[in-house]
């Protein structure tokens, strides 16, 4: 690690005051400390925000839930409101990392976790995300784990989060508090596509603090599922994942939510696929048609072409699981 100044912030005001240029907030540390050891993150000040009162999970009017930025991933996953109303979110959280890491990882930190692209993590490799303009080692390197959706000629790294995929399906909102006041950003707009500027990953501005995530009410989210496919049964990042919810009435799909992980440069909402399902019966043909629509724009590189069919089957499995729910 490079040397840094350590500040334990007592409250939000102190945290933001300490967050000068080159500072990083410290929540669970499972992304930040890891990357500081690799010299990928080199903050001059580390502002510990763990004393801030952002640890609540509360019901919002109409049946939604607000989750504080410092709620641990394990606590969100096991919370009765999350489990009852948003099973796909609970399942996504429990599919991520390991029990120890979930006890550390926070809502806010999970939103801002960095890609697991090997070249991003290796300071001897060219990487536009880490060092703008240096090139992308993955384009013609080992790109088996990389994205097929939302890529650019400058970066093809996946967004690694499971939680964010479920939140994208649920149309969640990110609550931010900064020097110029508070604002709310839809989760699907919070993460940016790499385009010409892969170093710009989210809509957060310097010094801004994530205070909470709002999950709006969605009645049919009780019929939902998160399916994650990885190289081993547990404790691995997604090669492909799907968060889905189905509104089924009278043997017909009235509405649907589909979001993908492991295959895209950001938590990927598949709206086109959702539309293909409306008005159709919940059967294998409908699900396969939706899966085809979701991956229609996929652009594989040398080693990750397998992800296209894998993602389709993951979607079909998730939809089948949700469709079969009582």
């Amino acid at each position: 690690m490079d040397p840094f100044r350590f500040v334990a912030a007592a409250d939000e005001h102190a945290a933001r005051a300490a967050a000068s240029a080159g500072a990083r907030y410290l929540a669970g540390g499972t992304t930040l400390v890891d990357l500081m050891k690799l010299h990928v993150e080199r903050p001059r000040t580390v502002v510990d925000i763990n004393a801030l009162p952002l640890t609540e999970i509360a019901e919002t009017p109409g049946g939604g839930v607000r989750v504080g930025a410092l709620v641990r991933n394990s606590d969100m996953a096991h919370h009765p409101l999350i489990r009852a109303r948003f099973p796909l979110l609970s399942q996504a959280l429990l599919a991520g990392a390991s029990p120890q890491i979930r006890n550390m990882a926070t809502t806010g930190g999970n939103l801002l976790q960095r890609t697991r692209c090997y070249y991003f993590r290796d300071t001897s490799a060219a990487c536009n995300k880490r060092e703008p303009g240096s090139g992308c080692s993955a384009l013609d390197g080992c790109n088996r784990i990389h994205a097929v959706l939302g890529t650019s000629d400058h970066c093809i790294a996946t967004h690694p989060s499971d939680m964010c995929v479920a939140l994208a399906a649920l149309d969640a909102f990110v609550l931010l508090s900064g020097p110029r006041g508070s604002r709310v950003v839809p989760l699907v707009e919070f993460h940016l596509m790499p385009g010409d500027h892969p170093e710009r990953e989210t809509a957060i501005e310097p010094g801004e603090l994530i205070t909470a995530v709002d999950v709006p009410p969605l009645g049919f989210a009780t019929r939902s599922a998160y399916v994650k496919v990885r190289d081993r049964a547990s404790y691995a990042f997604a090669l492909a994942s799907a968060a889905v919810a189905l509104d089924l009435r009278g043997g017909e799909i009235r509405d649907a939510r589909i979001a993908l992980g492991g295959v895209a440069t950001k938590p990927w909402r598949a709206r086109e696929a959702e539309r293909t399902l409306v008005g159709r019966p919940p059967d294998a043909a409908s699900f396969r048609a939706a899966a085809d629509a979701a991956l229609a724009g996929a652009r594989p590189r040398a080693h990750n072409g397998f992800k296209i069919e894998l993602a389709k089957r993951t979607i079909v499995r998730a939809l089948t699981r949700a469709g079969a729910m009582a």
């Binding site: 040397p3 540390g29 400390v33 096991h78 120890q100 049964a233």
Partner: protein, 175 residues
């Protein structure tokens, strides 16, 4: 490798190991109140091993990928390699050294011996700290539930069958 050998191999351009401040950290480790004045870069794992001579907690990957460094902070299992010691200020920490009561092993430690839950032993402290925490967590009854809940602890020797048996024995799910 002797310390002198280490020195000669250090690259001449290595950054000097200094921070512009130190952290004054109070911890309660295995029931003992301690105070450390350390570089803020020191992880909880290194604080335990290098500053407090509690070497039962092991360093495998140092990057959150193996679970060897698992300890309890505030009663919950976490990875000490990704925890800055300074961020554990005021916390109560339990390591493998704190499980036994004088000469009486914790039932999980005994079960690991009885069920052949280790071979080389490198991962074992982390496995046992995870397994003890698991007893207080939501976890289904089956072997597969235990496997999933223990998946954050890698064992290079492949002692997994014995580990699952030990956890199930302590939970009264077996024998």
């Amino acid at each position: 490798m002797s310390p002198t050998e280490l020195d000669t191999q250090a690259p001449p351009f290595a950054e000097p190991h200094v921070a512009d401040q130190t952290a004054d950290v109070a911890l309660i480790v295995n029931g003992r109140a301690l105070r450390l004045v350390i570089d803020p870069r020191v992880t909880l794992l290194d604080a335990l091993r290098e500053h407090l001579q509690l070497t039962g907690t092991k360093k495998g990957c140092d990057h959150g990928q193996c679970g060897a460094c698992t300890v309890h902070v505030g009663g919950r299992r976490v990875l000490s390699c990704l925890t800055l010691a300074a961020a554990a200020q005021g916390q109560s920490i339990t390591t493998i050294e704190g499980l036994a009561e004088s000469d009486r092993l914790h039932p999980m430690q005994q079960a690991f011996i009885d069920c052949d839950g280790f071979q080389c032993g490198y991962c074992t402290a982390g496995q046992i700290m995870s397994a003890v925490a698991l007893l207080q967590e939501p976890c289904g009854p089956d072997d597969d539930d235990v496997r999933e809940s223990m998946s954050g602890n890698i064992c290079r020797c492949g002692a997994y069958p014995g580990i699952v048996a030990a956890v199930q024995a302590v939970r009264g799910r077996r024998r």
